[in-house]
Symmetry: C2
Subunit: 409 residues, 2 copies
């Protein structure tokens, strides 16, 4: 008998009929001999409706008030799912984040989980009940309602799985798992059977937004094995675990793309300590999230620092940089939106050369110009024109033969 | 400087615009020098929407699950009202029933308040904040969400007013106060300036459903002075307090009617101890709520017991009585729906004769037949055909000259 944590997202519980489907799935899991903890999101559309109401009463709602408001979304779902499970004659207990013992810090709308004391939850499991927990929410030590920010329900599931020592955490969503590339771009993309945490992180931070990096990092830190699978069919999903022996030969597992990027270059930065820090402190102060950073070796005592960011943040970034350029005696900044990032990801890459060459070669033969390059141990990422991104994804996917599964040597 | 508890019902907070109106009203009250605790209901329609969702996932939702579900309604309102007040630059703190320290017993969907420990609330008041509390809800000692049943938000307001020692509890609703009679039946009905708790109770239990008896009883028990007034204008309302000296001359304060009643008579009940108990135990077991009970002196060792009830409960009551009639050797039961109750209410009545005669006389002159009569110290109630109720209300209202205010001698 295993202990499973199952998480169902907003689309999976989007209406009463789907809630009843989730109830059936949960009950089947329990009948198969497992103990089940279910984490649910707000029904799709509910959170947006609440945000709209908030905007109608206040131009700038406080974050504490937003948390009190938004937490009702998940509370509604736990009650409805408990009813649907009870209606099948199976005992179930619904718990808010607070009742599940999820204690967070006091940073409203993006609280961090401090600890979990799931006493009531464990007692109910021992009594043979299905336990249903509201995702995305917790409470402070002082009893204030908090929410965990984007991807919060996934985090609730992963963190609970860790706290109760679950055998597996299943993230049910509206896709079948993690694919070798976005099937909308590359029609012959394949579902991956397994991935390491690191690969999942690189895929997540490279545009494969099945899950937020934050939840994957938590899973990696606490060794929570999890599966991403569909709530609309019984297909197996993608299992994310520690790197295993069988993964060793794999070089490339997927191609990930992220559109709507912009690139900024600060030209002629004097080559002395503190100049890069000045640039990125200014950006951090303006709350601009930076993705890639590239700085080449300096020539003649000055260098160019380039970085990429979401293009929605571009004007904020440019405004933040204006005083800095003068202060550090750089020459100027140049910026451009309309670029995209393409990454090839694979844990085996770190011990194999030739991957970069194969990638650059296939793009060159397709006439795709590479504007920037960065690499990590398990990823090579390039910045290209956004107009080229679908073509580039197909070229890379083909070059590594990913339609047949992971690229091995 | 007074401490006020203000309660706004579902219609008063029915949409974002109305919530902003309530915010303005609360802020005006604070600016006038008062400390304010606000109790709110769910936005009108929200509770019904949640109940509909529940019915779509389960034929018979558990009461615990219903409480978790329905409590989200008031939680939504407190967050929105806090935002609307903050938007005017006034500090406000929203609290769920649990956070306001409202501890109840564990009877889900109709919990009773056990005690209130409003520590956080009092601290916030001392800090100059407006405190907003979710009505209708509390939690058990074990941390389970409970709701207080019908009229629960009024009860939250009255109970909080008692717990914090408020100078006045203001119940804001969609009517201007308590009237001498329902203005839809008697167009020249007048708003009453004041009422005693007892009179308010008789009016409430006689169909003037401005508030549930339960909240009035609580106010009476703990001496909470409260006012019923409109949230849509600035008219003064009706003040409900202990009986005062100025009330002594008043004989009749209002006429109250309740439609959709049914009457049941158990005929030929043997005149021995235990027979009435058998009848009403059977009804209580079937959860039928009884209103009037009339039993006349027995003739020839048997008597007739009559009672009235809401006509929706009639078939349940008849089924419950069937085995009892045989068991106690009564003759039979007769039942009829389509009757109504008309009551004249006034605290001075107990020391004045002639009220009953005046009532019966005006009805007789109008051709309204009286089917049953009961009296209390401050009320005379009659059962009549429902078809006669509007005419009877006008006759009684005129007979006591209530269009000029309370009837005095």
């Amino acid at each position: 008998m295993s202990l499973l944590v199952q998480k169902y997202g907003g689309t999976s519980v989007g209406n009463p009929e789907r809630i009843c489907n989730v109830a059936r799935r949960v009950i089947e899991t329990q009948r198969a001999g497992h103990r089940v903890v279910v984490v649910v999101s707000a029904m799709s559309g509910v959170t947006d409706g609440l945000i709209k109401l908030a905007q109608e009463v206040s131009p700038a709602p406080s974050e504490r008030d937003m948390d009190v408001l938004l937490a009702t979304g998940e509370q509604t779902t736990i009650a409805l799912l408990a009813m649907a499970i009870h209606a099948q004659g199976v005992p179930a207990l619904s718990l808010t984040g607070a009742q599940a013992g999820i204690v967070t810090d006091g940073v409203h709308t993006k609280a961090k989980i401090a600890n979990i004391t799931p006493r009531q939850l464990l007692r109910a499991l021992d009594d043979g009940q299905v336990v249903i927990v509201a995702g995305f929410q917790g409470q402070t030590m002082a009893g204030q309602v908090t929410t965990l920010g984007r991807g919060g329900s996934d985090l609730t599931a992963i963190a609970l799985a860790s706290a109760v020592g679950a055998d597996l955490c299943q993230i049910f969503t509206d896709v079948d798992g993690v694919y070798t590339c976005d099937p909308r771009l590359v029609p012959n993309a394949r579902r991956l059977d397994d991935l390491s945490y690191e690969e999942m992180l690189e895929m997540a931070s490279s545009g494969s937004k099945v899950m937020q990096s934050r939840s994957v990092e938590f899973a990696k830190k606490f060794g929570v094995k999890f599966e991403v699978r569909s709530s609309f069919n019984d297909n197996p999903g993608t299992m994310i675990t520690e790197e295993t022996a069988s993964m060793e030969n794999v070089v490339i597992r997927g191609v990930s793309v992220e559109k709507n990027q912009a690139k900024v270059t600060v030209e002629g930065v004097p080559d002395r300590p503190g100049t890069a820090a000045a640039v990125f402190n200014a950006l951090a102060g303006a709350r601009v999230v930076i993705d890639m950073i590239v700085q080449n070796v300096s020539v003649h005592g000055a260098t160019d620092i380039s970085f990429t960011l979401n293009q929605a943040d571009l004007s904020t970034a440019e405004a933040a940089l204006r005083p800095v350029v003068e202060k550090i005696s750089a020459v100027k900044t140049t910026a451009r939106a309309g670029v995209a990032k393409l990454s090839v990801v694979g844990i085996g890459m770190r011990s194999h050369s030739g991957v970069a060459a194969r990638l650059f070669d296939c793009l060159a033969r397709g006439g795709v110009n590479i504007q920037m390059i960065t690499t990590s141990e398990i990823k090579i990422a390039v910045i290209i024109e956004e107009a080229n991104v679908a073509e580039a994804a197909r070229l890379a996917h083909d070059a590594f033969g990913l339609e047949h599964g992971p690229y091995t040597v």
